[in-house]
């Protein structure tokens, strides 16, 4: 199957909400990265996280099997370092094969659930 997408993506507007309400883990406030790999080869991604006031951290390594989608909670990433909550960040995702990257935010800071979905920006080349 054809690999659709790009090998480099950026998400400039990450921010994991600090507060949560409701039963967990279903209602934990979170940012989630979705990676779609339509191709026949396993996708190996390296994520680099950029912050407003310190040097980037990475790579966070992520593998997505061929013809699969994978969802990753940014809250749970600890290797090489746990990402802080309530802090602005951006993601640079670099893959060895074309993929499609999407970010979803679940914000349960208030009981009225809010969700936001953003397609990452593909980088040509």
């Amino acid at each position: 199957m054809k690999a659709i997408g790009h090998t480099t993506w950026v998400v400039p507007d990450g921010r994991i909400p600090r507060q949560s309400t409701g039963p967990e883990p279903e209602f934990t406030s979170r940012d989630e990265l979705f990676v779609l790999n339509t191709g026949d080869a396993e996708a190996h991604l390296a994520l680099t996280i950029f912050y407003a006031d310190r040097d980037p951290i990475g790579p966070y390594e992520l593998t997505v099997a061929a013809r699969r989608v994978r969802r990753v909670r940014c809250n749970d990433l600890i290797d090489p370092e746990a990402m802080p909550l309530g802090v602005d960040y951006g993601v640079l995702a670099e893959s060895n094969v074309p993929v499609v990257v999407h970010l979803t935010r679940v914000d349960t800071s208030q009981p009225a659930l809010a969700m936001l979905g953003v397609t990452a920006v593909p980088v040509a080349g």
Partner: protein, 396 residues
């Protein structure tokens, strides 16, 4: 020539006056005698996995990497003697070939056996004591440079002191261990909610040879691990979803490989207060720390023993460990949670981060003074002491 030394996590760095690796016991004894004459301290280092400054010295740092002999006396009695530089991993492989095993192991096996024993390293299991409980005899170099032999048959109190002795009762060159016949385990990992896990933990701990759980502060979920004899018919845990299963020899199944470096604080509390303490720790992390802390909290159990300075001395024990990436600040987090452990009569793991010193520690250990008496006999000049150890043990 001075060489900088660093521990596994990188949080402990210092430059000893010299770092030596004697080829044998006599050379080590000579080195200790000379240090005593010169008023230098001598500390012995294993694999450097501890993060408390037990080995920090500006004197001589000694590695026993050349003392790696493993000698099986008698398979029937399960007794072996191993050199002070042998790691748990090396011992596990060599002993398996002889049909022997440790009754339990900790989370990793890269430490030296002597270091794991000397700091009270443990695994999990209501009926399983620390690794130090295997020690029934030892040869050691005392602070005078004299070579001593201690055995549980002639000197049971000496062994009770020596089992967890932080390297202040001499340098152990050979350990005589009483092990068990090699056995296979079925290790299963489960996912469940924290409330269900806590509600059923006591029952699970009684039903399985080993049980522990990791609590993930950023999802409030739990990964439960059970290990039982591979010969037993496995049963489901209705409150949990099975994630994976592994069957193999205990030395291959119990330890994990940890590449990602972290800092850790671990406290041992009386078993009956363990889950209440965990609940307070969980509330504190959720209220104050989960914006910075993504690492899990580990809950284990340890059987009581009669070792003077063992974390589980005289009481069935639950242990609770905090973790944080070694590249992130950890002290504000650890310091904030530590008083919760102390309020439950918590005893810190000797090899991990904590802030307690002799005034707080002495009331926690009924045999504290007896341990100090033994120390005074073996090392009257304090060759194996450092400023940190003097503060820790309350030695002027």
């Amino acid at each position: 020539m001075t060489r900088k030394w660093s521990n596994w996590s990188g949080s402990l760095r210092f430059a000893p006056h010299q770092l030596l690796a004697p080829k044998g016991e006599e050379e080590l004894a000579h080195l200790v005698r000379r240090a005593a004459e010169e008023g230098q301290s001598v500390r012995v280092v294993g694999s450097g996995h501890s993060s408390s400054p037990l080995v920090e010295t500006h004197g001589t740092l000694v590695s026993l990497e050349h003392l790696r002999r493993i000698e099986v006396h008698d398979v029937e009695s399960c007794e072996v003697t191993i050199g002070g530089g042998v790691t748990l991993d090396q011992a596990g492989r060599a002993l398996l070939a002889q049909g022997l095993a440790f009754s339990n192991l900790g989370d990793i096996d890269s430490q030296t056996v002597a270091g794991a024993i000397g700091t009270g390293t443990h695994g999990t299991g209501l009926q399983l004591p620390t690794i130090a409980a295997h020690l029934v005899g030892a040869r050691l170099v005392a602070g005078t440079g004299e070579i001593l032999e201690v055995g549980i048959e002639d000197d049971p109190e000496g062994i009770q002191a020596l089992r967890v002795s932080l390297g202040v009762l001499g340098i152990i060159t050979a350990l005589r261990l009483r092990l068990v016949p090699a056995f296979q385990l079925r290790k299963r990992q489960w996912c469940t909610g924290v409330e269900e896990c806590v509600l059923h933990f006591d029952e699970l701990a009684r039903a399985h040879r080993h049980v522990d759980f990791y609590w993930y502060p950023r999802s409030d979920e739990v990964k439960l691990r059970t290990m039982d004899s591979a010969d037993e018919t496995p049963s489901d845990i209705p409150i949990a979803r099975l994630l994976d299963e592994q069957i193999g020899w205990s030395s291959q199944v119990i330890p994990n490989v940890r590449e990602l470096r972290f800092e850790e604080m671990e406290y041992a509390v009386p078993l009956e207060r363990g889950l209440a303490c965990f609940a307070e720790v969980r509330d504190r992390i959720k209220a104050r720390w989960r914006h910075l802390v993504g690492w899990r909290v580990l809950y284990r159990t340890v059987a009581p023993d009669d070792t003077y300075l063992s974390m589980s001395s005289g009481r069935p024990t639950a242990t609770i460990s905090l973790h944080q990436n070694n590249t992130l600040p950890f002290w504000p987090f650890f310091r904030d949670v530590e008083p919760l452990f102390c309020a439950h009569d918590g005893r810190p793991h000797w090899g991990k981060q904590h802030t307690l010193r002799a005034p707080e520690l002495r009331p926690l250990y009924p045999m504290w003074d007896r341990f100090l008496d033994v120390r005074q006999r073996i090392d009257p000049a304090g060759v194996f002491l450092t400023p940190y150890l003097c503060n820790l043990l309350g030695i002027a």
